[in-house]
Structure formats: structure tokens, C-alpha cells
Symmetry: C2
Subunit: 586 residues, 2 copies
């Protein structure tokens, strides 16, 4: 037996008992004739004391311990004279009577502390040491807890967790598949699933009624910031439901998670916002509603004053930054630079200040009278002390830029506190997206997404107007998940394929498999999927999903700790009937 | 809203309420002016009644429904006159007042009944319809429940579920890896994990203390019966533990599962049997101890009577089949044919009957006197009416054959009831296995398995004698899981590598990564993994794991429903810098 207790559990009530602890040496401090060791395990830190006068040999041994040595210590629990209020075990210490070294440690390449001296790359290379740090460990503890509570909620609500295959068939649609050559079927390949979509719909055809899975998914994309080639989804599907059933159930699920994981009670219904409103007021289908600062459209107020920037624009939009009229020229210059960054893409920034005395100053003061500017300010509900920021241009691009500016101002004003949560549903997404380049409509979600029943009449006459029965859950400007009601009626599905430009043959080739299954009595069904990594990172109050994954890959899809991917043996390739042909110029 | 209730929940107490149900038409029966429909969903079957006199149009509509149509029905719950005691809803029926068809169904290729008319291949091709059958559905419901209870138990015992990567580095040791070409790193490959072994040991180095994961694993093997290229493990690892800690904890886990899933209470400790005893008494490292019939060695009693079959044998072993003395010559001939099958491999079968009057008859009666045979019978504890079956030959091969014969006799005598469970631990496995061909020792488990501390002294002088700290849990002759205490001491590890014939360079090349991690304070640790599919199939009282997997693959690793694997587009291959080169003669 290596221990009687963990390093996190002893309290003042344990004083006088004899215990054995095991763990890692966090710190050794020598003070006069005493040596103090902070002994660490997953559960906490406990102070161990060695007295040179009582047992010099034991104390010498303690002094010889290095950082991260693994030891086991026996001794008596005693009350500390100077208590440490920062840790739960801070009232006690162990007066050591025996010590043995279970394993030595080389000096770690960085300190195992919350504020480590190790850089990103070094910590990723030694991820197994990085994971020892309490801040990192806590993220994975949180991930476990969220996973457990998700399963508890879904189990109580009659969902069955059903594993779907990882080795599936490659489908040409969508993002790029990872493929897996089959040795037993030479020249043929499996694909890794981008999502269990096909299988969960089949499970509805099978009558499983309520399915979920916390499932690994794979996407061979050029990795943008904060994407991983493998990621985890909370994948759910239900039969005999309408959109309202799904929204209610998964809102309850998120409330359960907030309650049992973060001790936050959402008693009100989550707000619901149409996609059109989200775009109009926030310039984004995932608005951060922790703060207001809604877009105000003022194009109608700006015409005819020979200010060509506004006159030539489809759209002129403003946001009102409360109390920012005191922004200096330099501060406004920084904001102007911000909106002109290629990622934001605005051509310039127009501003308007309402000074304390009510006077209005503006970068476009020579084009517009103070009275005219006053009307703008009124529409923005701006009062003395407020700053109005205005962008103009093509509607969607300008909204997107204004969204970035709004988020930047929210950040500056401290409105984006990660421990404040503002969830909402975005609903009524458009069914189709028009692509200028190919001059045709594409499915915004996927071709099985059901149109809003009220809009079916516009399908053939005005497809751009048709709303989908699709929904996203958004928290703090991050899309946590989304889904849709699926089409279960084959005539409607045929029409959809036609509108999306599929010939009968092509539709059969790509989706025939699911269509055939649907011939045998498909129930009405719908579902959604949450990004598990994203849910955990939001609840961990982190920006990046990388921090909530035990062994993440870098932006080139590499595991730098484990050196994967790597070349494989020629014999392996031969067995798979494969030959690598690298481009000549590499 | 498609339904107010499921098809499994209405009872006599609901009589008089108006309800709406949705589901699949299991059966339509017309009896006089009445039409009865069995409406099915995941939760059960409810009888719906249509009365031609009350509403002829509705009744006509009901009569037109085909099998597996998806409908929704509204009506009033009424007490049935002739109750059906076989189903929980059998006391009531729904007097229909409205009916609508949500979806039609083609005639399914086989009947959706427990005893279907569909063959194996057809059912696999239409797996989504096969999954509608209650027998199949119940297996997946059981799987969900076992998974949930496993997580509940492990969570309560402070285990953290931590996801380890699916895209990892290929390691040449062990079974064949599936590989995944990396587009972003041309010419390089990921591998799919055969188990999370490396990562779980790293997590122990990281201090996670108690880890588990219900994890997908992959093995590109030529599929033997009942193997799947992807399978699921309950993978566990603990720090600061000895073998006893692990056996106790995971025995408690299995007891939890038996209790909450099967309502079976194991109050006693599971038996523990050394590997040596398992081989000696059962000829197998996974003995089926639902019945006794232990091997009895009688070589010493058989010598010097000129019966060369026994004289030339290293080993003569007997089993006693209680009450089988009445076996006919024909029955014994069948057993002789059984043991001579190549899969069993015995040369012949010797038998001995103790007749009701105590007289002994035997196939070797001309070599041995009745008194001599009486001594054999006594050693076997055989009494009047018993049949003794004897095999002879090379020790291990004969034990294996006798094991098969014992299982066959157990089957014939009804001792192998799948709803009776006899779990045990097999412990003290040998650390090494000698390979005659290559004339060297191999690790029986893996090279990180710790030797039994008492046997370390024999490591260099008599390696074959060294027991491992390794253990298997066996239930009803099936290995459910196994594991070991790992070596955490680097000197001992170096010695192991030496004994296994690794040069320092080769050990570094193959295992250097884990060895490097171990330099930074590896705690003592150990763990085990259970085959989740196997655990479920045993609790489902099934022989095959295929029946507890939603979408299994066949013996060629193919998903016949989904047609995977399949050729991929040339453009996909090109992006991966790969070329398929099939052998010319195919």
C-alpha cells in the first residue's frame, strides 16, 4: 500500500492520526533545522515536515530530494502554527517519520507551476509534464464532469448512447475526409467520419427514437486557428419531434450542465433570435449578447450631403459606445487601424462624439450639420458622453466589420467577462445560400434540412426567401452547436435535390443509400450536435479548445510530443498496395 | 406535436384519457367490422382499434395501411375485453378517432419480428431494418445501460474519463496498424490506436491518478471469427497501486454492473486461480467454472502395461462425466470424432465406464485390469454411473484438447447456461513465453509488465519461472479483460529489454518516447482493459460480439450495408501523394 490518503483530503479533524501519502515533490524548503516539502498529487498539496533534531538522517534524505521526485511519506497529522488559507489542507502538516523515494526525476524542462516558465512549444513537446500543472489538469477534470453530466441528463431523458462506426465510406460532399487504406480489400479505402450524421438518421429509421453519442469526428481541413483534425461532438437525434421539442430539450440540457458544473441557475427561457435579426443587429449569426450595443442603420439619414463614402454605400451602420466620448484622437486612430485590418476589411471609420455639454463633434462634421448629426445620435439613443462609431459599404461585408468593431469595443469596455454567460438560440436560418461564382443555390446546412413549413410555398418561386427549420445555440458569441429538422418526406426531398441542381442520377449516387433506407418508413426526426471541445472551453472560460484536449495537435496537424504523423515502413505500404509519390519540387 | 405518449406506457389507469401515439405498423388485422393495428415504437406495442360502424372512412384508411408504415393515431384509452398478458400495455387499447400517415413503407425485405424470415446476409445489408427487431434493439439498450453504469461507478470512484487521440503514431511492434495518410504532411501517416496503452501510462506520469476511457480501438488483423477491425475497450489505469488494489476495485466494478444491469448480487469474493492451476485443471487460461469436471492427471498410474499410447505420452489426463456411463457406443464415437477434429487435435479418446453394479468397462480393458482401472476411477472420484474420458499426448496440446472435450461435455450436460455467471480472476501469468522457432523469450503481456517482486531474483537465471504481476478477469470461459502492474523503475525496465533481446538502441527507438517520459518521476502504476463488446455480449447472453454492435463489419472487414471500404477518387489520392499499385495477378 503506497498511501492511506491523498494529498488533498486531510483536515484539522485528522490531527493525531498516522497517515501515509504519496505524490510528487513540488518544493523543498530548508528553514533552520526544519525541512518543509510540498507534496502534490491530483487532489491537492500537503505540507510535510522533517525535523533535523528528531531524525537527522531522515531530514538529510528530505533535503536531497529534487523537484518532481515521486515519494511516499509516513507521519502524523499535526496542526500548523502558521496556517495557509490558500489551500484546503492549509490547516495541517505531516510530521514525517518515514520517507521513501519511489522514483527520481530529471530536472523538468519547465516549472510545474500555474505560471510556468515554459513556452508553448516546449510545453506541447512535454505535454505529459504540462498536464501536471493544476490549471491544465482542471480543464480535463471539468471536461470529465461535463461529459458525465451530459450523459446523466440524456440518460434520464431516455436517450440511448449508441456507438457508430469510425471506419466508414468516403463521401465526396462536404469537407475533406481522412481515408484509411484497407489491406484486406486492396485499392479500397475507409473514411473517418466527419460526423455520424448518416448513421444517426439511420438509427431514427431503425426506431431508436432518442439517440446520442459523444463521438470523435475527423476533418482533413487546412487548420484555421483553433481547429483540430480530430474533435469531439455531442451528437443527438430524436424522432417524432418538431423544432420546439428540440429547443426545449437541449436548452434544458445546457441548463443542467450550467447548474451541475458551474452552479449557475438559468431560470428564464433562453432568448431566441432570428437569423435575420442577428445579422441586422449584430452582423453575425453568433451574436455576443453579454452586452447590448446593437447596430443602428442610418443610411436613410445620410443621403444627399455629397459625402460619397455614405452615398455610395448600400449600408451605413452605427454602434454607440456609452461613455466613450473622451476617447482621444490616438485611441480613435487605433480603432481606425483596427477596422482597416484585412481580417476586418473596412475602408475607414466615421465617428461622432457627444460631449458633456451636448455639443457634437464628428469626423464628418464638414459634410453634416450638428442638427443632422443630432438626429443620428438620437436614433442611436446616444446621450452626452457617448461615442458613435460608423462603418459604411456593402451590406453583409460592412455588418461583418461592424460586428468585429462592436466586439472590440465590448472587450475594451469590459463587457466580455468570460465568467458571465449569455446563451441564446439563433433560429430561422435561410435554407439556401446563393453562390455568385457558380450562380446557384447551395444548402446552408445540408440537403436534408427541412424548410420551414410556412415557406414551402416559396421553394420554387423564391428560394432565397425560404427559411430552414434549423437552429444554433450560441453562448458569448460562440456557436456551441446546431442542427435541424430533417426532411422525411421523399417528394419534398426530391424537390430539394432538384433545387440544389442534382440530377436524379447524381442524387441517387451521392445520397441513394439514405434515400433507400427512407423508403421503409422514416419517422419525422431532427437533431443537433454540439462541439464538445467548444462547450468545455466556454465553461472553462478559455478562448482555445486546445487547452481542453489532453493531447492536441498543432496547426499543421502534428502531435509534436509523439512525432505523428511519420513515415511508415515500406513493408507496410507494400501490404497496402500503396506507393508514395511526392511532388518533385518539395 | 406527433404524440402525447409512447407505445409502451399506457396502462389500465389511463383508461378514459385521450392520447396521440406515433409509431410503426407492426400488424393489421381485420375481424368482422373491426380493424386492429399493433402500433410499435422503441418503448412497446399498443393495440389500436378502428370500428367500421363508427367511422367507415377511418376504418378503410386503417385497412389500407401496410407493414412498417409510420402513422400517428389519436383516440381514447379503453380497457380491453380480452387482455394480452404478454405485453405491459396488454390491458388497454386505443379506440381511434383520427389517423394520419406520416410516411409509407415499401414491403421490407424480411419480417420485423423476433423470429424473422431474413437470413444473416440480408439482415446485415438492411441493418437499419434489422435494428428494428426487439431482440436486436434490446442488445443496444443493454449496451447503453452497461456503459452508463460503468461510468457511474468509475466516476464515483474518482476516475476521470480522458479522451486520447485516434490519430497517433504507428508503432511496428504488435498487431498491424491501420494507417491514415496525412495530406498536410505528404508521405507521412498517422496510425489508428490498437489501444490507448501509451497515452494512459503518460497520463499516470502526468499525475491523473485514476483514468478511464471507453475507447475505440483498431486492429488490422485477418479477422478470425468474432473479431472486428474496430472494437471498444473499457480502458483503465491507476497510480500508487498494487495488484490487490486493482483486483478489488475492478471486481467491485463488475459486481456493480451485474447488480444494476442484471439484478445479480455477487456477495462473495470472486475466486482467484493461478495461471498454472488454470492450465493444470482446465487446460485453459480462461476456464469456464460454471461446472467442475476438473482434469485429473493419471500418467503415473498408467505406466508399464505396454499401452504405448500412454507410455509414449508426456501427459495422460482424465475428466469425469457424472452419470454418463449410459453413453452408447455411437455417442462415444461422436465424442471421439469431436476430439480428432483438427481444431481439437487429439489422436484418439480412451474411455472408462463404471456401470451401475460397479463393474468397469473400458476401451483399454485389454491393457489394464479392472483393479487398475478402479484406481483411476477412484482418483477421478468417479462412482457408479459415471463416464471417464481420457486423452494423452504432449502436455500443453493435450490439455488444450481436453479443455475442448470438457466444454463439449459441459454443453451436453447443460452446465453452460448463459444466464448463470461464474466469474474469476486468473493471476500469476508467466512473464515470458518461450518461442521455439526464434529460440528466445517474448513478453507474454507487453514489455512494461512488472514481474512478481518475489520472482525478480530468477529474472536472469531462470526467466521461464518468473511470474508476471498480470491478471485476467474471466467469466464463463471468456476473457473479459486483463492487465498488469507496469514497471516504473528504469533499471528493471532496462533489464527486461535486455532479457527480451532488445539492444539499447532498439529499445530507445521503439519505446524511447515512453522511457523519456518516465525520467520525470513516473509513479508506480497499473491498470487493465475490458473488451466492452465482449462484456455486453456476455451480459446479453450471446456468443457473438457482432450482435451488440449497431453497425458491425463482416469477416472481410466490410460494412455490407454501407459498402465500405470502397475505391476513392483519383483526386483524393493525388492530394495525398499516393498511388495504388495492385498486384498484377489478382
Amino acid at each position: 500500500m503506497y498511501r492511506t490518503n491523498t494529498c488533498g483530503e486531510l483536515r484539522i479533524s485528522n490531527v493525531g492520526t498516522s497517515v501515509t501519502l504519496a505524490g510528487w515533490v513540488q518544493r523543498v524548503r530548508k528553514m533552520g533545522g526544519m525541512t518543509f516539502i510540498d507534496l502534490r498529487d491530483r487532489y491537492g498539496i500537503t505540507q510535510i515536515v522533517f525535523n533535523n533534531e528528531v531524525d537527522a538522517a531522515l531530514c538529510d534524505m528530505a533535503n536531497s530530494l529534487g523537484r518532481e521526485f515521486v515519494i511516499t511519506v509516513t507521519g502524523e497529522v499535526a496542526e500548523r502554527s502558521n496556517k495557509n488559507k490558500n489551500i484546503p489542507t492549509g490547516d495541517i502538516e505531516i510530521i514525517a517519520t518515514a520517507l521513501s523515494v519511489l522514483n527520481k526525476s530529471d530536472i523538468p524542462p519547465f516549472t510545474i507551476e500555474d505560471n510556468t516558465d515554459g513556452g508553448d512549444e516546449l510545453r506541447m513537446q512535454y505535454r505529459y509534464l504540462d498536464l501536471r500543472r493544476a490549471t491544465v489538469r482542471k480543464n480535463l477534470e471539468l471536461r470529465h464532469k461535463i461529459g458525465f453530466e451530459l450523459r446523466r441528463f440524456l440518460n434520464e431523458n431516455n436517450f440511448l448512447e449508441i456507438e457508430t462506426p469510425i471506419l466508414i465510406k468516403s463521401t465526396p460532399e462536404g469537407a475533406r475526409d481522412f481515408v484509411v487504406p484497407s489491406r484486406m480489400n486492396p485499392g479500397e479505402f475507409y473514411a473517418l467520419p466527419q460526423s455520424p450524421q448518416l448513421f444517426k438518421q439511420l438509427l431514427m429509421v431503425s426506431g431508436f427514437d432518442r439517440y446520442f453519442q459523444i463521438a470523435k469526428c475527423f476533418r482533413d481541413e487546412d487548420l484555421r486557428a483553433d481547429r483540430q483534425p480530430e474533435f469531439t461532438q455531442i451528437d443527438c437525434e430524436m424522432s417524432f419531434v418538431e423544432q420546439e421539442d428540440i429547443l426545449q430539450l437541449f436548452e434544458a440540457m445546457m441548463k443542467h450542465i450550467f447548474k451541475y458544473v458551474k452552479n449557475i441557475d438559468f431560470t428564464e427561457q433562453f432568448p431566441r433570435m432570428t437569423w435575420a435579426d442577428a445579422m441586422k443587429f449584430y452582423g453575425s449569426d453568433k451574436p455576443d449578447i453579454r452586452f447590448d450595443m446593437k447596430f443602428v442603420e442610418i443610411k436613410d439619414l445620410t443621403a444627399g450631403k455629397n459625402f460619397s463614402v455614405f452615398d455610395d454605400a448600400d449600408y451605413v451602420g452605427a454602434i454607440c459606445a456609452k461613455g466613450c466620448a473622451n476617447y482621444t484622437r490616438k485611441q480613435i486612430d487605433v480603432l481606425t487601424e483596427f477596422v482597416k485590418r484585412p481580417q476586418v476589411g473596412a475602408k475607414g471609420l466615421v465617428w461622432l462624439k457627444i460631449e458633456d455639454d451636448g455639443a457634437i463633434k464628428s469626423s464628418v462634421g464638414k459634410f453634416f450639420s450638428e442638427d443632422e448629426l443630432k438626429v443620428w445620435a438620437d436614433r442611436c439613443n446616444a446621450v452626452a458622453g457617448d461615442l458613435i462609431l460608423i462603418l459604411a459599404g456593402e451590406t453583409m461585408k460592412t455588418r461583418k466589420a461592424l460586428c468585429e468593431l462592436r466586439l472590440e469595443m465590448g472587450e475594451r469596455l469590459g463587457f466580455r467577462n468570460p465568467s458571465v454567460y449569455a446563451p441564446l438560440w439563433v433560429i430561422d436560418f435561410p435554407l439556401f445560400e446563393w453562390d455568385d461564382e457558380t450562380q446557384r443555390f447551395y444548402a446552408m446546412h445540408h440537403p436534408f434540412t427541412s424548410p420551414n413549413p410556412d415557406d414551402i410555398k416559396y421553394l420554387e418561386t423564391d428560394p432565397g426567401r425560404v427559411r430552414a427549420t434549423a437552429y444554433d445555440m450560441v453562448v458569448n458569441g460562440v456557436e456551441l452547436g446546431g442542427g435541424s429538422i430533417r426532411i422525411h418526406n421523399s417528394e419534398l426531398q426530391d424537390l430539394m435535390f432538384k433545387l440544389l441542381g442534382f440530377t436524379k442520377e447524381k442524387a441517387q449516387e451521392q445520397f441513394g443509400f439514405l434515400m433507400n433506407a427512407f423508403k421503409y418508413g422514416a419517422p419525422p426526426h431532427g437533431g443537433l450536435a454540439f462541439g464538445f471541445d467548444r462547450v468545455v472551453s466556454i465553461l472553462a472560460e478559455l478562448d482555445s479548445i486546445r487547452d481542453v484536449i489532453a493531447f492536441p495537435k498543432n496547426n499543421s496537424g502534428r502531435d509534436v510530443m509523439n512525432e505523428a504523423p511519420a513515415p511508415i515502413d515500406d513493408s507496410q505500404l507494400e501490404e497496402l498496395c500503396l506507393k508514395v509519390e511526392l511532388p518533385l519540387s518539395k
